[in-house]
Amino acid sequence: MPHDVTMPQLGMAQDAGKIVAWLKAPGDPVTKGDALFEVETDKATMEVEAQEGGFLTAVTAAEGEDVPVGAVIARISDSAEDDAGPDAPAAVTGSDTPPASAPTSGADDLPEGTSVTMPQLGMAQDSGLLVTWLKSPGDPVAVDDLLFEVETDKSTMEVPAGQDGYLLATLAEAGEEVPVGEAVAIIGDSEPEAPIARARGAAAAAAPKAEADPAPAPAETSPKPAREQSKPAPAPRAVGGRILASPKARRIAREQGLDLNRLAKAGHPQPFHVRDLDSLRALPDTAAGSQAGSQAATRSLTAKVATDGFAAFAGWAKEAHGLTDADALLAGLAGANLPAPCTVAVTRLGQTRQFAVPPGRALSRVEPVSATPEETPSSPDLVLRDLRGGSIRAVAMGGEDHPVLTVMSDDTGLTLTLETSPNQMDADAAITLLTNFADCMEQPLQHLL
């Protein structure tokens, strides 16, 4: 049985060795214990002995070459002719262990071709969710053909093939999170006989075996959860900074819909503890109090948009992504310009629905906070009042508990009015919010990315 000769692991912190000289030539007979080659490592040169008798064959590493530890560099065979040729010897000794890859390459049995990698889409994005494949393994593809669809922090987009050829392999499945820069597909020139489709998890699980990794690395076989379970409630924000309150006081305030801001505005000493919530409950009626406080100092901004692109966008989102809740999309677009996570209420014809916009602000992850419109569990960060299709053309409602963004329509397009009090939103934030939202309403698709 042929025996592989590998670059031995010699020093304590060594991962490669340089072959100084071969002491036997291909075809030479060798006896167990014969010095085969000389290797330099850790500043010392030493001779490596044959572990088996036979004939030296299939020498693949030349003198002067640096070879990683464990790499096969020759073979000791039963005859001088055996396997002498350009083929690399099988990588693993005797047993029926599956063949390992050359240590320099991370891939195992993948076809040759050009890799298509997960693109970097957002600014601070390190992975993308593979939503769906638009081509199947084996399909011919053209340079501009859309290959797959990916969801990142802001939205979903389609990634083109980038070259002509055949899709030889897909390396991740729909639903898997793939790090930016990692290969997700391989495209080659010729039509494959056996195109490959596999999950990213499968590749990760196979890797340690191929590299004889000593650690029983827990294979990450399942993709990361695609949806975040929590629906973060808005943290109370201080007038001029952070409110100091105990964790318990904060939790109870959140659960009972008490606004710690009001206690702060009332000048109650901080930090707030649970007992201070009694003082908060004892404050004068909420609506009256805040109206009185904010009426005097209302900001009002109005934007005009020539076309309402939202309906088309909602149709597309439903078609392409199964996002059927147009209000959630609307809330998501509006919430995209607020500090995340945030809550946006959409109110129309006397009905209010509240939506949690998660960090990352992916439209597909905007979730209704409560199923029944009557219940509004906590105060929203923004109210979006949708008066489209009605006869109102302008509003000046004055200050309310929350910033209110009113959307109206007529023949000339949309009119958007943002009303807020200074302590709810500063001027820059208000301008940014309205500008961006107006752009989004006009051309939602363009502003997705």
């Binding site: 031995p8 692991q9 010699l10 005797g94 262990t97 029983p216």
Partner: protein, 325 residues
């Protein structure tokens, strides 16, 4: 070669066990060299007559404590290749379920109380095992294996003092292979090693650790006497390790010469010597010995292949065995 009453079966078993140790180590070294084994390992090659000579004088009820250079003790005390290679590779079926590895390898069911990676760390355990035997009226004996380097640890003097005070059935087996890691023993040990034990009134012997029959004969005598309450005893076994302190210690000419290594291998190898003796005495033929060697070689290869393919422990085992029920 010490002369003892011929006992074919015992002799062949001793030879076989020595070859099993050498073969195990050769395969372990290969696993390391080819980067298939996690971590490092300390080779016992060259010292086989010590472990085998002593353990062949013990029963399964007798205990031993082993060291970081413990594969030899483990084999000699009755362990199997398959579970040993599994342990070496950190696999579930290893003797310690992959939690110990090379430095803690032990087949506990044959009285091996574990290999200890703290130099001299097991001296208290071995002496405590002997104390338990005495307190409970059992006649088992405990052998404490350690190296010349461990004679520099204070614990040795504390426990030898108590063992001598209480006449405990423990035998301190000092495997003097001439080097305390990368330093000549002469440079770390003042005076005589046996004199250290004698200071406590412990009977001490120095013996050729490359002569398995001599080691076995002496151990048998001392074990018998220890069972009768005449312990403790101390043996200094003069031996040699063929490899470096561990498998990564390859460039060692700064502390010992290749000529010295060659001399021990060529002229004092315990297996070569005992094989010649067996043939000379007509106990086994060359062919029989070759067949035995080949069979052991095959066993080892199969065990390695088995261990390579064996499963790692499930990750749920990571916090198992921290506490006993």
């Amino acid at each position: 070669m010490a002369k003892t009453k011929t006992n074919t079966e015992d002799y062949l078993r001793m030879y076989r066990q020595m070859v099993r140790i050498r073969t195990f180590e050769d395969n372990a070294n290969q696993l390391y060299l080819s980067a298939k084994m996690p971590g490092l390992t300390h080779m016992y090659s060259g010292e086989e007559a010590v472990a085998v000579g002593i353990c062949e004088a013990l029963t399964d009820d007798d205990r031993i404590t082993s060291t970081h250079r413990g594969h030899g003790h483990c084999v000699a005390k009755g362990a199997e290749f398959k579970e040993m290679f599994c342990e070496l590779l950190g696999k579930e079926e290893g003797y310690c379920r992959g939690k110990g590895g090379s430095m803690h390898i032990a087949d506990q069911s044959h009285g091996n109380l574990g290999a200890n990676a703290i130099v001299g760390g097991s001296m208290g355990i071995a002496t405590g095992s002997a104390l338990r035997a005495k307190l409970q009226g059992n006649d088992d004996v405990t052998v404490c294996f350690f190296g010349d380097g461990a004679t520099a640890q204070g614990l040795m003097y504390e426990v030898m003092n108590m063992a001598a005070l209480w006449k405990l059935p423990v035998i301190y087996a000092c495997e003097n292979n001439g080097y305390s890691e990368y330093t000549k023993t002469d440079e770390i040990a003042a005076g005589s090693i046996t004199a250290r034990a004698e200071a406590f009134g412990i009977e001490a012997h120095q013996i050729d650790g490359q002569d398995v029959l001599a080691v076995n004969a002496l151990t048998r005598k001392l074990v018998d006497r220890a069972r009768k309450g005449e312990g403790p005893f101390f043996i200094e076994l003069m031996t040699y390790r063929y490899h470096g302190h561990h498998v990564g210690d390859i460039n060692r000419e700064y502390y010992r010469s290749k000529d010295e290594e060659r001399d021990w291998k060529d002229n004092r190898d315990p297996i070569v010597r005992f094989r010649a003796y067996l043939v000379e005495e007509g106990i086994a033929s060359e062919d029989e010995i070759e067949a035995m060697n080949a069979e052991i070689e095959t066993d080892a290869r199969e065990a390695v292949a088995y261990a390579e393919a064996a499963r790692y422990p499930d990750v749920s085992e990571v916090d198992m065995h921290v506490y006993a029920d």
